[in-house]
Amino acid sequence: MSVSKSATLEPRQIKRRSEFLSSPVFSPLVTQVIIWIIFWIFVPNFGSVRTVSGIVGAASINAVIVIGVTMLMISGEFDISVGAILGMSAFVFADILVNGGSPVLAIVVTLLVAGSMGAINGLLTAYTAIPSFIVTLGTRSIYRGLIWVVSGGTMIQVTDRLPIQDILNGRLDIVNNLFTQANFTTAAVWAIALGIIFQLILTRTKFGNHVFAVGGNPGAALSQGVNNKRVKITCFIITGLLCGLAGMLTFSQFSTAQVVTGANVELKVIAAAVIGGTLLTGGFGSIVGGLLGILLIALLRTGTILLGLPSDNFEAIVGVTIVGAALLNDWIRDRLI
């Protein structure tokens, strides 16, 4: 048997794009900067610390959820029950506190409940053929109904703020004392810290690599030995836990927990992830981008108010931004990948 001796393949130099330019963060960052500049020019009082800290504060609670949702979307799945998990968490947290439970107990139980709700979403998605969008469409209603059952339709309200509320979502006076009229909250610290941690987990660990693979090409991931089911269930549990924290932050801010708490958060966070450069089809995105996205939505909200526009326009403006940002992200990505 003989095989012809072939010529060596000529080594081919592959043109290298800058790593930063082709990372998922670049295009949402550009979009963000452009819009901040536009608002700074046209909106009165926009650059003040009070306004900026208000925007950051408004974004912080949802930012925590966006972290989980972004990771889930990168793995190729959706969770639209996040608002309901938030609502249940806020209620459970408040309920334990007003009944004299210690803050530690309240936090642990809330996280257990929220994590379990996420786990149910994950198990149903992984072990049935039902797409996660449909599974969580169902659990969205089921979980909301559970809040009705658990609360009996009542609302919990606390008049004297508890210390734990100030730790979770109180005034961040270390920073506030540096600026006049600043209104930064501790929730922002949680959001940023968790954002950084999970961005590192996503980009610097084996698990993170698997998340991208499962979303980008599940068949390839499976054939290379990745445990697709385990990766997805883990992402759902992480999302659940983050919603648990968001619920605690919500109660800590408003001292109120009721059945409708957290309603309609889901579409906002998915929009933030998309604006932040995460592909709906999975396999690409960044948590930092998602945080930028939720910041942008809060920015638009504040901007419309300060511009004196009717607040009905806010929804339309967000809609235009979503489509515009998605197009811009695609355009920039095609130029660079």
Partner: protein, 252 residues
């Protein structure tokens, strides 16, 4: 080409394998083996059952009945991880590459090198970059950085990448599903050179190849499937010259 003794225990042996999908019989009592340090060609028309057989060996399907022996021991290849643990590696027809991910991350997918940073196992990025670039340079592809997206590589380069990532782990048996599909003759020659080279170092190959001439001339033995059943088997060269194969498979 290294000699293959006929009496050695087969590396992998499939006995009475039946594979049914509902009422469709994809494989019908197939008996099949690959010997140590052998290159075996698996031939057959579309729908003959070649891909199914590969997927059983690689752990994606479990056979409806029958058993598989690896080095004489009965094994359950229940998932791709188990197959890899045995030393069975596969290069799929679609290459199993994640286009949106970088070359390096694709190269090490499923067996990422780790370094401990405090309590956390973190990806060893410099190791990924270095080893990927070295392995690619070995097969003639020079990249500035393993962070470039895999989508920037040409078809031939992707094929070579998929092949070199299984060879780096020193497998016992490599399953190749249509390695020459869509590639230029020069690249195909290069791939088969690599296959022969690794065979010389002790790796067995199971080759599913549409290009019957190329496949059989590179193989020690060939095995022809038709409609899920074994039709012919024998030494590669002999099969190539066999007029029945001409009629059955090569079309005239």
């Amino acid at each position: 080409m290294p000699q293959v003794t006929g009496n050695a225990t087969p590396l992998v042996k499939m006995e009475n394998i039946v594979m049914k999908f509902g009422r469709v019989v994809a494989l019908d009592n197939v008996d099949f083996d690959v010997r140590p340090q052998e290159i075996m060609a698996l031939m057959g028309d579309n729908g003959a059952g070649k891909s199914t057989l590969i997927k059983i060996l690689t752990g994606i399907y479990a056979p409806t009945s029958g058993q598989i022996r690896f080095e004489g021991e009965v094994v359950q290849i229940s998932n791709p991880r188990r197959a890899r643990a045995l030393g069975i590696e596969t290069v799929y027809q679609d290459l199993a590459l994640v286009n949106l991910m970088s070359i390096g991350r694709n190269f090490f997918l499923g067996r990422e090198p780790i370094c401990q940073v405090g309590p956390l196992p973190c990806l060893n990025m410099s190791c990924i970059d270095r080893d990927t670039r070295r392995s690619l340079a070995d097969i003639g592809i020079a990249v500035r950085s393993a962070n470039d997206k895999v989508g920037t590589l040409s078809g031939g380069e992707r094929q070579m990448l998929a092949l070199s990532r299984v060879l780096i782990v020193h497998p016992r048996l490599v399953l190749l599903d249509e390695p020459s599909l869509g590639l230029s003759p020069l690249v195909v020659d290069h791939i088969f050179d690599k296959i022969l080279d690794m065979n010389g170092q002790g790796v067995s190959f199971l080759l599913v190849e549409q290009n019957a001439r190329k496949g059989l001339s590179a193989s020690h033995r060939g095995y022809v499937l038709e409609l899920g059943q074994n039709r012919m088997s024998g030494p590669g060269r002999a099969l190539l010259d066999d007029p029945r194969l001409q009629k059955l498979y090569l079309g005239g």
